[in-house]
Structure formats: structure tokens, C-alpha cells
Symmetry: C2
Subunit: 219 residues, 2 copies
Amino acid sequence: MISQTEENYLKALYNLTYLKGEATVNEISKRLDIKMPTVNSMMKKLSEKGFVHYESYKPLKLTEEGKKEAALIIRKHRLTEMYLVEKMGFAWDEVHQIAEQIEHIHSPEFFTKMDQLLGYPTVDPHGSPIPDHNGVMRSENYIFLDTCKIGNVVTLMAVQPSSKELLQYLNSKNLELGTTLTIHAIEPFDRSITVSYDSRSAEVLSSKVTATLLVRPIS
Amino acid sequence: MISQTEENYLKALYNLTYLKGEATVNEISKRLDIKMPTVNSMMKKLSEKGFVHYESYKPLKLTEEGKKEAALIIRKHRLTEMYLVEKMGFAWDEVHQIAEQIEHIHSPEFFTKMDQLLGYPTVDPHGSPIPDHNGVMRSENYIFLDTCKIGNVVTLMAVQPSSKELLQYLNSKNLELGTTLTIHAIEPFDRSITVSYDSRSAEVLSSKVTATLLVRPIS
DNA sequence: TTATTTTGTTAGTATAATCTAACTTGTTAG
DNA sequence: CTAACAAGTTAGATTATACTAACAAAATAA
Ligand SMILES: [Mn+2]
Ligand SMILES: [Mn+2]
Ligand SMILES: [Mn+2]
Ligand SMILES: [Mn+2]
């Protein structure tokens, strides 16, 4: 049996290692706001259980089993977020904390039912992919908005990371997934960009924002 | 803050005290399958927190605060069961274990939304009343089927207690809430009764079953 | 009413998950 | 290349929740 606490560590490690393939005790410590010695002993325990490759003073990695386990928790998290938005009428900035709890519910039937009712969605309300029931996560080749050039026309596909504050900021700008943006200017000093979309002709987005927006270039 | 574990003790105590007003360490121990010394120390802790009246060797009672706290957990449990049946398509015998977990989710918005979507229901799928948001539970004056007389015509209003096995037995007999039953015979030897309902003319129900069925006499 | 059984309590132990303090190892800035 | 700093580890303490063994009180039977 795997505890709620252990599940949260696995998920943190999965997310931290998603790009680089490894993570450190210190990073998990900061992510979960738990002191390093606690993280250290938990990593040893998860290593005992076969979910983590642990060697003293070396970076941490998930085993294949650990990856699958973590992906299945993330699956439950993202299915829940999608269900809350699509079926219960929550806004995309209201669902993360609830999903953070419901992801730990032990009931395959419950999540299977959600999946069915949603019509087997592949992304969550923030555009992140939902792993399949084997823990396999499809990766799309979207690019961050801050890597685009003047004149590019792009569609907003995902927000990552999607903090509540960022999502509320996007709400205030009427920027949602699927919106098509045209890039008119890039300020060299602070890398802020000027875009147009819908009926908005000249919105300025800071690099703090553009570094979180994943887009797909059109043509 | 009140832990998931503490919530389960409060709920057990509430249900055990519902009729008699008090319960014993031994009863809680059996109900939760937790040894008596553990229950004993938890009762002292809950007493410290103001939820339980504890005195050595005396029966246990909930304080007013404890009653309200417990009723609000039961509210979450029953709202969840109703939601699972009405909005997600689960059967009445599939929802208890899931609700047992979801009742511990901390999110007023989540349960408020459920309540809204359900249209503010007053009973759960097994006919038990759903406490209001102040923890007040309306009590209906239904009677158990095993107290009825020959010739009585009654409507099935609730099943209590509603074990999975019992619910499945009722499914197999096509007996559901709202069904109207006519009592034709009562066997003095084992108190089993013969009833008719819908197109079934002579179904025999044992006293084990009739002792769990709450009915409202017609006329 | 005494003896037996059941119930309740105390004491001591165990495991999970957290912390702080102190020490070790690794990394980085002069 | 060393000195300082950052990161990782070990040791020991703490809290929550459980257990068993032993004892005390209450209820029940003889
Ligand atoms: Mn989320
Ligand atoms: Mn979580
Ligand atoms: Mn239930
Ligand atoms: Mn529960």
C-alpha cells in the first residue's frame, strides 16, 4: 500500500524530473515545503519500495515503476480538474486545490466513470496532457510564447506552470486556451511582447507571463 | 484542525448515539475495528478538543460542537452518495466506500456545488436524511417493516443500515425506495412476512430484512 | 453475595511523518 | 587550489495513530 504522503512525493519527483530526467533532495524540499532530512529519509523509503533510484549524494530518479505510479496519480489529478470544470461548472483557476485532494481517492471505478462521462479527454483545463490508464503521457511539441518572433501567429495550447494568480491574470485579459495571438513587437529591454487577439489590438505581456504560455504556431 | 481519523471517530460516535444518546468505548471499537485502548485515548483527545464528554467508566456523549461537526461530515458523505447516483450513474450499492473517502475532502465550494447541482436534496440514495449546512438533521417518523400488521399498505422510504449485501439483495427482488408494499401474512415462528408489490404477488421477506426497511404507512 | 466475565484504563511499544542540530560531502568564488 | 557556502546526511526528538499486556472497575451469573 502507498500512502497519500508517499503519493505526493512521487508526484513532485515526477514533475521535477519531467524535463531533466533527475531532481535533487533540495528541489523536492522546496517544492513540497518539507525540510531536507525528511525528504532524504522518504527517498530512502521509496527506494526500498522500488519507486526511486537512490544513491547518497547523487541526483534522484524514478524507477519505471515509480514513473508509472506517479503518472497514474497525475492522471487522477487531471481527470478530476477536467471533471470539475466540464461537469460541475468550476473555473480553471478554482480546481487545483480540490484535485490535489481527490487525486488520492482509491476507487478505479470512480475515475473510470469520470473518464467516460468526459468522453476520454486527453488534456486538462490548463492544457496539460492526461496520462492514459497505463501511465503513458503523450508529449506535444508546443513552444513557449517567449521563444516566438515578431509576425508569428500562434494558438494558446497550455499554461505551465498554472498558478492560481496567473490563471486569474489571464482571465482578466480574456486570454483562454484556443485563443489565436499575433505577435506585433518584442521589447528587447525586458522581453515583454505586444500581441493582438480577438478584439484586443495591443496587449502587452511580460516575460513572466510569456514564459508560461505554451503555443502552437499556425502554418 | 481535525484529522481524517478524528472525523471517522466522530461520525461513528454520532451514528452510535443517534438513538440512545450515548455509546460505549466497546461499541466504537467494534464499529471501527480498532482496539479499545486506542479508542479510549482518542476519546480523551476529542474530549480535550471539546467534541466529546468523557468521564472514566461512563458512557460517551458528543458535545453540541461534536454533534455539529459529525453531522457536517455525514452531510458531506450523503451529498456525495446522492451525487454519485444522480449525476454519475452509480448504483445505490456502489457508493458508500467512495463517499467514505470523499467525505474528508476540505472544500466547502465542492460540496456547495454538489448540493446546487442536485437541487438541494434532503435524503441520500438509501433514504437517510442529509443534515443541513448547520448540521441539523430532520427526523422522519417512519416505522420498521417488522412492526407492521397484516393488511397494512406501506411505502418503502429508507434502508437502515444499508449494507452492500442487503442493497444487492433488494436489487434482486426489485425492491426500491418508493415501492408500495401490501402485507399479506406474518409467520409467527420466525417473523418472516409475505408481501406483494408491483407485479410480485407473494414475496417472502425474512425478519433480518424487514428489520432494516423503514416504511411510511399509507392512509 | 461472591465469583466470573466483560468492559474500561494504564503502561509501554511500534510505525509513519515530521522537525532541529550537527556533521559530511560537493560546488563555487576568490 | 583552497576557503566558504550550499546541499546532503545522520542522529535524536516529537506527534499522531495504532498495538499488546496487565490491571481495575462494572456487570452478570452462580
Ligand atoms: Mn493541478
Ligand atoms: Mn495531493
Ligand atoms: Mn454511506
Ligand atoms: Mn470516512
